[in-house]
Symmetry: C2
Subunit: 205 residues, 2 copies
């Protein structure tokens, strides 16, 4: 037992979580089934059941899943029962958009800090935050035990910022820089480059 759970399974859990919350909060549903959830997400019901079975038995034959209970279980599994403080590095247009985006709230994250190197931007207010000097990055991140960061700097600075973040304890990084980043094992990295996504789709046009 205690088998390693495939990354691909972990990757689907947040999708299930998001749809389950939509199902209760927007549509007032109390229960759902693997079939209903799968139909809404374009995923087979068998896959949803198999994925969840890695973690326990959350459903009931004949009835399906009690949404509130399943949501709580998924939150536990994904460690979303507390809110993670997130540092954003880069206060350009993208950093600005991230600072103003309220979609992090109630989903496990709070953008707590934003950094930039431009003296024009340092001290400026962005939503609830004040842009910090990136020279304070190490100090702030280590003092506040920040584990999660978002990189919104140009490609030319992304690897250096990554190295600095990792050195002071950051272990989950979402990067918007259009470049592959090297991180030590034990550090998770995820990329978002809109061009890569568009290029994949133009193949099928």
């Amino acid at each position: 037992m205690t088998r390693e759970i495939p990354d691909i399974v972990i990757g689907r859990l947040p999708i299930y979580l998001r749809e389950l919350i939509r199902l209760t909060e927007d549509e007032g549903k109390i229960n759902t089934s693997s079939h209903e959830l799968g139909k809404r997400l374009g995923i087979s019901s068998a896959q949803i059941r198999k994925d969840l079975s890695h973690f326990g038995e959350f459903g009931k034959q004949g009835t399906g899943y009690h949404i509130h209970y399943l949501v709580e279980q998924l939150r536990e599994i994904l460690q979303l029962t507390k809110e993670w403080d997130v540092a954003v590095v880069g206060a350009g247009y993208l950093g600005h958009a991230l600072a103003h985006y309220h979609g992090f709230e109630h989903r496990g994250f709070r953008i707590s800090w934003i950094f930039d190197s431009d003296p024009e931007k340092i001290g400026q207010q962005m939503d609830q935050l004040i842009v910090q000097d990136v020279s304070q990055l190490e100090k702030v991140v280590s003092e506040n035990h920040i584990k999660v960061a978002i990189i919104a700097v140009p490609a030319s600075h992304a690897q250096e910022i990554t190295n600095r973040l990792v050195t002071v304890g950051v272990r989950s990084i979402l990067s918007y820089a259009p470049i592959h980043l090297t991180v030590p094992s034990g550090v998770e990295i995820s990329y978002s480059d809109p061009v890569i996504q568009l290029q994949r789709m133009t193949y099928y046009l």
Copy 2:
């Protein structure tokens, strides 16, 4: 022959393309090998060779790949030899960031239109563009034969905008709305929800 090429292979081609361009433009390299490319991307050399072998024989034993030639081949495969006009729907902070981002240039895309429904925003200039009334969406998209769009509207409007885009011929959609969208077959969709990405990583913390 003429076997269907796996989606997962198509998905890696843009990554290879991006790194190859970096290799020539930033580092002045003329040739590379599957081993070098793989090492830089954290992908096995065998996988790179196997992926490329779906489309032809682009390398030379003993030497590896001529980067310029391989880049041109990948651009052909991904249909990036022309520039695709892209419509952005939603001129909030995110639409603003997309309009000002110059990373689309030389990579096969040009943000050509941006739409919003807010009268305060319509007519405003964003980088080179003027925000258009979303009521003109169908007219503009069909008249300009736009095939690629980016959705940057709230979740509550994303499905409606998607439907309208698809109706007038859009076939590749990148959505930043935190919601699963339903599209007819033949339409490609790709999602970018930072929270989903962060939630996947917190599992490992």
